[in-house]
Structures are given as C-alpha cells and as structure tokens.
C-alpha cells in the first residue's frame, strides 16, 4: 500500500509539472502578458516598462527554467498584479474555495443520495421518474444561469440570503447549492443503480428472512454496500469542485481560488496561473488516489499495490 501511495504521489507531481508547462506555453503564445497587465490604453512606453519589470522580455525557456528552479525551492514567484508571493496569495484564498467545495459536497450528498434511495426503492414508479427528471434537469441547467436565478429568487425577490460576498456562512448557501447541483445527477444515478443491484442480492434475502425490514434493512445491510462506488465518485467530484468553482465564485463574488484563476488568466498573471494549475492538478490526483484507497479500505475484495 505504501509503495502504491508513493508511486501515485510521484505521478501526481509529474502530472502537475506537465500541465504547468502546457499552461505556461499556452499563456505566452495566446497573449502578450505585458500588454494584458498594462491595459488597453497604455502607451508603448508603459507596456515596455512592465515588460522589463517582470522579466517578460526574456526568452520563454529562460523564464520557465527560472520558475521551475524557484518551485523546487518552494518559491512560486510573485504575482504581477498582487505584488505578493503567489504561495501566500493562494493560501489566503484557499479557505473560501475549500469551504465552498465542502458545502457543495454536502448539498450533493443531501439531495442526491436520498433521491437515489427513493428512486431505487420505487423503481419505474412516478417517484423514480421524478428523481431521474430532477437529475437530468440539474445536469442540463448551466450553473451561471442557476446562480443568477437563485440570486433573483432568494436575494432580491425574497431577501433571505445575501447577493454576493463571503463574509458569513449565509453567503455560502446559494453558491453551495449552485455548485453542488452539478454533481447531483451522477451521484443520484449511481446510488439508484447500486441500491437496485444490492437489493436483489442473496444476502439481502437472507437478512429479510432473519426479520430485517424497512429502515434497518436499508441502513444496516443494503446502503453501506450500495454506496461503495458512490464514495469514490464523491472523492473525485470533490477534487473537481476545486477547479470548477470559477463561474460560481465570479457570480457570487466569492474571493476564492476559482475567481483568482479567472482574474489571473485574463490578466496574464503567469506566476499565479502556474501555481493554481499546479495546485489543482495535485488536488485532483490526490483525490483520485484517496478514492482508490477508500475503496480498498471499504471493500476487502479490492487489493491495490
């Protein structure tokens, strides 16, 4: 198991570096960072001042090598916009994104699993069809639209929640719902399918013959087996929440990593983009690894390493 974890860790680093190199190349090819920082109305002199100030006049391989050299020493560079170490910037904003991601997962679990259970216990009924309809709708609705609709309904028409910002826990309710809704379909369907399969298994028949019924049958025997694949999907989904919060954070003006990523890309703040991509790649790979380990831990039939 340890060897497996170490190998996957090394793979995570390799993925992160590869992705960061691709992002570096794309950013430098797609835009002139000095012009993006200076702004549209900046004179050529100002653009050149900025180009020299941030070392953007040096060749790309030199700049990437400098960045890489800094990273191995734990120095991710300084943000062109924020004028502070990128690592500090990311650490400051990570809390908001982590809170949002966890809250979104809570929303997903609270909606998707009960819906999936209801659908599985009443297959091909109106309950099942409704649950599937909810799942399809949640998948089809763009989250920027959903976000604005939620604001109109619950912040303007019925002023229950704040429109934007991240000062209190109430500021996270609507964004968590919007972000969590995107994962509901996959988790709901997996729960439904898993539970239908489990409910037809021999050991459930045995449990029934022993006198287990209703909630006790569901909780003690069926659900814990049906949720095994769901847990690993949830772990992967959590990783996606970190990178997928860009739109939600922009609409609700949450000062998290997603919004930082958007602003950094638009402003060609290359050091910040580099670090964010690095971090997101590591998080995603680690979450996948966690999913594998959890699966192995919960299901003795699975061996890894």
């Amino acid at each position: 198991m340890l060897r497996y974890i170490l190998l996957r860790g090394a793979l995570a680093l390799a993925v992160a570096f590869t992705v960061s190199l691709a992002a570096f190349l794309l950013l430098n090819v797609a835009t002139d960072p000095a012009r993006a920082i200076a702004g549209e109305d900046a004179t050529p002199e100002v653009v050149q001042t900025i180009r020299v100030r941030y070392g953007l006049d040096q060749p790309m391989p030199v700049r990437y090598a400098q960045w890489l050299g800094g990273v191995v020493q734990g120095d991710f560079g300084e943000s062109y916009y924020w004028h502070k170490p990128v690592a500090e910037l990311v650490a400051e904003r990570a809390g908001v994104t982590i809170a949002l991601a966890l809250a979104a997962m809570a929303v997903t679990i609270l909606i998707a699993i009960p819906l999936g259970v209801l659908a599985a216990l009443n297959p091909n009924s109106w309950i099942d069809r409704t649950a599937l309809g909810v799942a399809v709708s949640a998948q089809a609705v763009p989250n920027f639209w959903l976000g604005l609709i939620m604001i109109i309904l619950f912040s303007v028409t019925f002023p229950i929640f704040p429109v934007s910002g991240d000062a209190t826990w109430m500021h996270f309710v609507l964004p968590a719902f919007v972000l969590g809704a995107t994962s509901v379909p996959a988790v709901m369907r997996l729960t439904r399918t898993g539970l239908i399969e489990v409910m037809g298994a021999d050991y459930i028949r045995t449990a029934r013959s022993k006198g287990y019924r209703g909630a006790s049958l569901l909780w003690r025997h069926a659900l814990r087996n049906a949720l095994l694949p769901v847990i690993s999907v949830l772990a992967v989904q959590l990783g996606q929440k970190f990178g997928g919060s860009v739109i939600t954070e922009s609409i609700f003006a949450l000062n998290g990593l997603g919004r930082l990523a958007l602003e950094s890309i638009l402003g060609a703040d290359i050091p910040t983009v580099q670090m964010l991509i690095f971090v997101f790649a590591i998080v995603f790979v680690v979450m996948n690894l966690l999913a594998d380990i959890l699966n192995a831990a919960l299901d003795p039939r699975i061996r890894i390493g």
Partner: protein
C-alpha cells in the same frame, strides 16, 4: 397527518422569516451616509503611481491630490496642491505650494515631498507606470524654498501641467526607498495620500472602505463614507443594486441601463466620454504597396460607406454621436471644420468604381472589442461592395500583427486618458514613433510633433487644424463615433457628469 403537515409548514415559515430578518442586507444610502459602489475590475493596488486602469484613476481622485487639477466644468488646469505657478521660460516652471496640505497621517506636505515624488517617478529604477509619461519632458525638480520648487524640463512640452494634474500622486519623502532600500509597493496596500478621502480598510480584490478626511485642504465631500466593492459579474452588480447593496454602477451595458433605469429602483445616467472609435486604413501600403487602400479615393469611399450616426445611436446610445475628425470634438485643437463624408453608400460605390474597383476588393478588417460595432462596420462596407473578412481577435494579437505591419485595416478606440487635448490622441496615432501610424505621411508626423513643442496655444491650434484637416482630406482614418458612459445609480444620489467622462465620486451627494 394534518396536524403534522401544519407543524412542518409553521416551522418552515418561522425558519424562513427568522433567516430573512437576521440576514437582511444592510441598505446603504442616506441613512448611514454611505455610498456603496460596484466595480468589476479588482482593486489590487492603491497607488496610482504604479497602476494605469480606469478604476484606479477613479480611486486616486478620492485618495490623492496632485499639484494641479482639472476643473470638471471648464476642463481647464487649475492649481490644487500648488497655490500658484509661473513659467520662467519655456523649459523652467516655478511652483508655489499651499501650506495647509496634510497627508492622511496628519503630517504636513512640504517642497521636499513634492520634489522627492517627481524625482523618484522619473528615475528609471522607480519602474513607475508614470515614468515614461513624465520622464519624456521632465529633467529634474529642485527645492528652492520651504514651499517652492523649480521644475527643469528637457524640452518644451505644452501638456506638462496636465500630466502633473492627472498622473503624479504626491508622496512623503523617502516613501519608496526608506533607508535606501527600494520598495515600489510601499503604498500598494496602505496609501498615505492627500486627497479628500482616506482609506480605512482595504481587502484586495474585495473591498476598499474610504472615509472623508477632515484634514483635506479643499472643499469637503458631501458623503462621509464610500465603500468600493469588487463584483466581477454585471448580473450580480445588478442584483445588488436591486437588493440595495449597491448605489452606483458604471460601464453598464446600454440595454441593462435602459431597462433597469426605467424602474423606480435605479436611475440611468448617460454621460459624455472622451473615448472615440475609428477605422484605421493602411494608406502607406505596408501590407500591399499597390493595394486599394493606398488610393485616397478608395479611403474616401470607405468613409462614405459607414453609417456612423446610426451606429452611435443604436449600438452605443446615450450621448454618443457620429464624428468626422481623428479626435474628440471636445479636445483642444480638434477642428470641426475639416472635411466630412456623410453616409452615402451609393456615392461610395461610385467612387470605388471610378478608382478601378467596380466589383469591390477583399479586405481583412481587424477588431478586438465591441463585436456588434465591428459587424456593423463590416456590413456597411460589404453593402458598398467591399468583401470584408472580419478578424475578431484579442488585443494582444492585434498589437502583435500591427507591430509586424500585417494589418490593412483595424477598428480602434482611444480614451486619451481623459485629456481634453488633441495631443493625447494625435501623437500616439500619427507620429513615426508608433506602430499605430499607418498613414506613412512624413509631414503629418512633423506637424503633430511640432504641436507639442510650443506653449503658444494659437500656434498649437494652427498646427492641429492643419494635421486634422490633412487626416480628413486624405482619409487616413474613417472616424466613427464618440462613446457614452452609462451609469446606474440610486434615485437618492446626485452624481454629476463631467465632460471629460471621468467619474468623480468625491463630488457625489445625497438628494
């Protein structure tokens, strides 16, 4: 069962009610004398000596005062921190300072502070965003008394006072290099300015809180507190305005401004802006030495083909209007008597035929913003017979292509930095120092530069009349329209609109 349902319903209602009461947004406005302002651009740096964008200019107007200021009503340069000035000769300026100017930390500004600020800015190691602008004409600043200074200029420069008014924010001595150690970010997070508002709280990318500075030497602002909130999405800004979380929005799309402005929630204000839009034509033939754009008849035909007034009316709205000069009509030296080419597509076709293009010709038209405008221009040119290939790209791509002389025509805009002087648009677009100049006209280059080498206003006006007239006659550009700035504000707010288009929040007041 019925009792259970009622219990559940009552509980839910109670929860909703208590939540709504406990979290009702704090409404702004007169009650707490706080103006809440929404900006999409993140405010990351409070020091305008190291930034360039529009939002930072708006903020700097509140936190800083400069030696001179622009009178919003007359657009004339008036002393501000300076109490008076005198040009000893064309390249030497003596300035006298007020004695009652305080920094926000309570210390009094003196001549050493002003000299330090300017000498620092022009020092290349400062890497200030203003270095190139001021360093072009300023040699050094010398302290001549406790509150007097002498500015030594490298060359005659008629816009010196305007640059000083708009670009240089005064700092205490040694701010950027305390103890000899350079710190360009000294004022980035905590600015110690001399303006009518001081910053009491700054969360970069989220919020700036400003409070009226009682030690300000000039007229006290009417509103006590201003909170600048960074809200990137315009839909969210709109929702905040509707919910009372915001009182002022700018850069509002026209359709949104009109629809929300028609409700009691908000008032739509439409003000002038010094920004102009135009089509630049490769008259010099960089992309095709014998191409159609090298012929003045073709360029004039292009001018006749464009319905500028309708573009202004329907695509921009407000106070936007069609123009026929390569400058904004409100700018000094922008002579409106130059030739106009009123919309006439039939005449455009006729002229193209006479020039040897009865079936038109292919044209790559580049653009980087406002796609509807680009499409309208392309459609008008197509109607005149020109086969337009619209290349809609990012600004950086257009810049690179232009620098490589690969652009035959592009749609550009220029805001002149809010400067109501033709110098702010002419040099950057028609001198040989810049790749934006596709005219290839050596005489035009001379005239444009000469207009910045004299302080004689009559001479300058004469030179610009000649330059603007030549640009129009030779149709190096197809000028399109001026812009209009759209704002949505609370009905309780008085917000004056100034002719240079610069929002001056420090002049706002409650009704």
């Amino acid at each position: 069962m019925i009792k259970l349902k009622r219990a559940v319903g009552s509980t839910l209602f109670a929860i909703t009610l208590s939540l709504s009461l406990s979290t009702a947004p704090a409404f702004a406005k007169k009650a707490d004398d706080t103006l809440r302002v929404a900006m999409a651009e993140e405010i990351l740096n409070l020091d305008y000596n190291y930034t360039t964008k529009r939002e930072y200019i708006i903020l700097a107007q509140m936190t800083d005062a400069s030696l001179f200021d622009v009178d919003p009503k007359t657009q004339e340069i008036v002393p501000s921190v300076a109490s008076g000035y005198k040009f000893i000769d064309d390249k030497t300026l003596d300035v006298t300072l007020r004695t009652n100017v305080k920094f926000h930390d309570g210390s009094v500004l003196n001549a050493e502070d002003v000299a330090y600020t300017y000498n620092w800015i022009i020092d290349p190691k400062s890497e200030s965003n203003a270095t190139g602008i001021i360093g072009r004409w300023l040699d050094r600043v010398e302290v001549t008394g406790a509150n007097t200074l002498r500015f030594h200029m490298k060359a005659v420069y008629p816009l010196a006072l305007r640059d000083m008014a708009q670009r240089i924010m005064l700092r205490k001595k040694d701010t950027y290099n305390p103890g000899g150690v350079v710190n360009k970010n000294a004022m980035a997070q905590k600015v110690n300015g001399t303006g009518p508002y001081k910053v009491t709280s700054f969360k970069p990318g989220q919020e700036v809180v400003l409070e009226r500075f009682d030690g300000f030497f000039g007229p006290k602002p009417a509103i006590k507190k201003i909170i600048v909130r960074n809200i990137p999405d315009i839909g969210t800004q709109q929702a905040e305005l509707m919910a009372g979380g915001v009182d002022w929005m700018f850069n509002v799309p026209l359709d949104l401004a009109q629809s929300l402005g028609a409700t009691p929630i908000a008032k739509h204000l439409s003000g002038p802006d010094l920004r102009v839009s135009f089509v630049v034509l490769d008259a010099a033939g960089y992309t095709d030495p014998k191409g159609p754009l090298t012929k003045v008849e073709v360029r004039r035909a292009i001018n006749y083909a464009l319905n500028k007034s309708e573009m202004a009316k329907f695509l921009i709205g407000g106070s936007a209007e069609g123009i026929h000069t390569a400058c904004h009509p409100a700018q000094f030296g922008c002579d409106q008597k130059s030739v106009d080419y009123p919309y006439n597509p039939a005449k455009a076709k006729e002229m193209l035929k006479a020039a040897g293009y009865p079936n038109g010709f292919p044209l790559d038209l580049w653009a980087y913003r406002e796609k509807p405008v680009a499409e309208a221009v392309a459609a008008d040119l197509t109607a005149a017979g020109i086969k337009v290939n619209l290349r809609y790209v990012k600004l950086e791509s257009l810049d690179q292509a232009r620098a490589n002389k690969q652009i035959s025509a592009y749609i550009g805009t220029w805001g002149s930095g809010g400067t109501a002087d033709t110098a702010a648009i002419a040099r950057i677009h028609f001198s040989d120092e810049t790749d934006r100049n596709l005219s290839g006209d050596a005489q035009l280059n001379k005239d444009v530069l000469a207009a910045e080498q004299t302080n004689d206003e009559n001479k300058r006006r004469e030179l610009y009349t000649k330059a603007i007239g030549r640009i129009a006659d030779q149709a190096y550009w197809a000028p399109l329209f001026t812009y209009s700035a759209n704002y949505l504000v609370s009905p309780e707010l008085n917000f004056p609109l100034d002719s240079d288009g610069l929002p001056r929040l420090q002049n706002a007041s409650w009704k």
